[in-house]
């Protein structure tokens, strides 16, 4: 994170609304920090919850990785130090062995020079024999200790001392005791031996110091590692906790949604049942009074035929006509309601055949009018035969109705297959058409674009068409212009395999 105070000019304090009483102004850095924090939270709030969760997990994960790397490094340092300690310990031991051997060899050598007794040369010979081995050990331990210079110097001095001693032995054996007497008392190569002692002491103290330093460092690193591991554990706990929280949250949410869905489903089912009962009651009870109105009006006009004047007869006719209209409205509404609720059959419908039968049924209503029908080749579509029959019944009834005023009515039915999974079927007429600005009202329930004295109708037919086509997974739309005919389209999904 960047510093909060670095690049913000402190000369531009934000506009603060005047306060009722003077308060101690917050220090600049604090204010800037607050601003920063606000901007950061604002920036964060643009993120989606998933992004925030991901960012949080990423941060914690990076932290854990960093801690793991640092702990590994610390442990490596401790391991290396302990290895160095071992070699340092070995070096110190080796040095004391060498020193011991040197002292023994020197004192034996001195006795030999005095007495000529060769048995005193045993330590010296042993040292001569051991020396290459000592050298090899020293060589191995020189590098880790970092005291190669001192060790080389020590070896050189030992070699020199041994050389001098060898020379003295040679002198003693060839020239007798007197020749080496002056050497025997103070000891040969005394200076070199002292130097070696001093060097060994230096080496030992250096090793001790290094060991102490390493111990201190190891202890520090270990403390560090423990702290890091503790932090890592905390982070992992945080991670686990958040995972638990998220999963818990998710599960709770899911449960809630499932319960809500179930409840809604039950409500819907109850509402559907109610609707069914309602429409049953409408179908049964609402029709009876209408029948009576029409029936008694008819009976009245029959039994009082002589006494009624024309006006009274017209009134009775209007009563009958209204009753009939309401009956038709109820029937249409019930069909509309049924089309929404009824279980759909899934079979293949031969539209050619279906359109033919619908036109045949319509012929009775045409009352001798001649209409020029153009029927293209229509596909087989999957769907409910009764429902699709209703669709074409409504569309063709409309086409017949709205071309009634034409001298030469023309109705065309055809199909186009524009995409692989869909067919579009159209019904085109040269009737009175409609204004495209009302196109959205066409398929609504009780929406009519014509007065009842122009064209009869209940305003449910096209709503039914749309409802049925929607239930088949298709779409409906229309094009038209006033006095220039109308075209109604419906698209239906078809299986890919059908050709």
């Amino acid at each position: 994170m960047e510093s909060a105070t670095q690049d913000r000019p402190s000369t531009s304090p934000p506009a603060v609304p005047p306060l009722p009483e003077p308060v101690q102004p917050a220090p600049g850095w604090l204010r800037l920090f607050g601003e920063r924090a606000q901007r950061f939270t604002a920036w964060m709030s643009q993120w989606s919850i998933e992004q925030r969760v991901l960012a949080g997990f990423g941060l914690v994960f990076l932290g854990i990785i960093a801690i793991s790397i640092m702990s590994y490094r610390n442990t490596a340092v401790v391991v290396k130090n302990s290895r160095l300690d071992t070699s340092s310990h070995e070096l110190v031991q080796l040095l004391s062995s060498i020193e011991e051997a040197l002292i023994a060899a020197e004192s034996g050598h001195r006795r030999y020079l005095v007495t000529g007794d060769e048995s005193y040369l045993k330590p010296y010979r042993a040292l001569m024999e051991q020396m290459p081995e000592f050298s090899r050990y020293l060589e191995a331990l020189a590098d880790p200790s970092g005291q190669r210079e001192r060790i080389t110097e020590m070896e050189r001095l030992i070699q020199k001392q041994l050389e001098i001693e060898t020379n003295a032995i040679h002198q003693r054996s060839t020239q007798g005791a007197d020749a080496v007497r002056h050497l025997a008392l103070p000891g040969v190569a005394k200076r070199e031996l002292d130097d070696v002692h001093r060097l060994i002491a230096d080496l030992e103290s250096a090793e001790q110091q290094a060991t102490r330093a390493r111990v201190l460092k190891s202890a520090g690193t270990t403390r560090n590692t423990i702290a890091l591991l503790a932090l890592g554990a905390v982070l992992q706990l945080v991670l686990l906790g958040s995972v638990y929280f998220l999963i818990h949250h998710d599960i709770t949410n899911r449960r809630r949604v499932a319960a809500e869905l179930r409840r809604q489903g039950e409500l819907l089912q109850a509402a559907n049942k109610e609707l069914e009962a309602f429409s049953y009651s409408v179908s049964h009870d609402l029709r009876a009074p209408l029948r009576h109105i029409d029936g008694y009006a008819a009976l009245l006009s029959k039994s009082a035929a002589e006494t009624l004047n024309d006006k009274a007869k017209r009134y009775l006719e209007t009563i009958s006509a209204s009753a009939k209209q309401m009956g038709q409205l109820i029937d249409d509404l019930l069909v509309f309601s049924r089309m929404g609720r009824q279980e759909m059959l899934r079979s293949t419908v031969n539209l050619n055949q279906l359109v033919k039968t619908v036109i045949h049924d319509l012929r009775l209503d045409l009352q001798g009018k001649t209409i020029s029908w153009t029927i293209g080749s229509l596909p087989d579509v999957p769907g409910d035969p009764a429902m699709l029959r209703q669709v074409f019944m409504n569309l063709l009834t409309n086409a017949v109705k709205f071309t009634a005023t034409r001298a030469k009515p023309r109705i065309e039915i055809g199909a186009t297959r524009d995409t692989a999974g869909e067919v579009t079927i159209f019904v085109r007429d040269n009737g009175v058409g409609f204004d495209m600005q009302y196109v959205n009202k066409l398929f609504g329930v009780f929406q009519r674009l014509h007065r009842n004295d122009e064209f009869e109708g209940t305003g449910i037919g096209l709503a039914n068409v749309r409802r049925i086509i929607h239930r088949h997974g298709g779409r409906t739309w229309a094009e038209g212009a006033l006095d220039q005919g109308a075209t109604f389209y419906l698209s239906l999904p078809v299986k890919r395999t059908s050709s």
Binding site: H284, D285, G295, A298
Partner: protein, 147 residues
């Protein structure tokens, strides 16, 4: 054909009954019609009990049955008729306002001989009742009496 067998009309609504009778009157078959106002009365008539204890027993030539009736509804009456060996041969015509598929299916499943939806328009209603009356009361040969 020689013995005048009655037409049984089960109709709870007196106006509907009156209109039906008016329709039959035009064709002079109204005097053959017996009107019952609920399902229980229909069963009483058929089994010659209660108010019909003293009537001369014998099955009607046809029963016109409304679906929605007080006490015992049309479906229940139909079920009783069609599960009784003596009454089973009587032709039963459902004459109802309901166009519900459920009612249609149930009626035919129980053995109804016809199902007619009462038209709202009086002229149509008259012609429907008239045709029904003539067909079932005059044209159709009823099942033999006895067994």
């Amino acid at each position: 054909m020689t013995t005048v067998k009655p037409i049984l009309l089960a109709e709870d609504n007196p106006r509907d009954a009156e209109l039906a009778l008016a329709a039959m009157e035009e064709h002079h078959i109204a005097d053959k019609v017996v009107v019952c106002h609920d399902g229980a009365e229909v069963l009483d008539y058929l089994y010659c009990r209660g108010a019909f204890k003293s009537r001369q027993c014998g099955n009607p030539v046809v029963v016109f049955l409304d679906l929605k009736m007080p006490k015992v509804d049309g479906i229940e009456v139909l079920r009783t008729i069609k599960s009784d060996a003596n009454l089973k041969p009587i032709p039963v015509v459902m004459l109802t306002s309901s166009r519900e598929e459920r009612d249609l299916a149930q009626s035919y499943a129980l053995g109804a001989n016809a199902y007619v939806v009462k038209p709202v328009e009086f002229q149509q209603f008259i012609s429907a009742v008239k045709e029904l009356g003539i067909f079932w009361g005059v044209i159709n040969e009823p099942p033999p009496e006895g067994n």
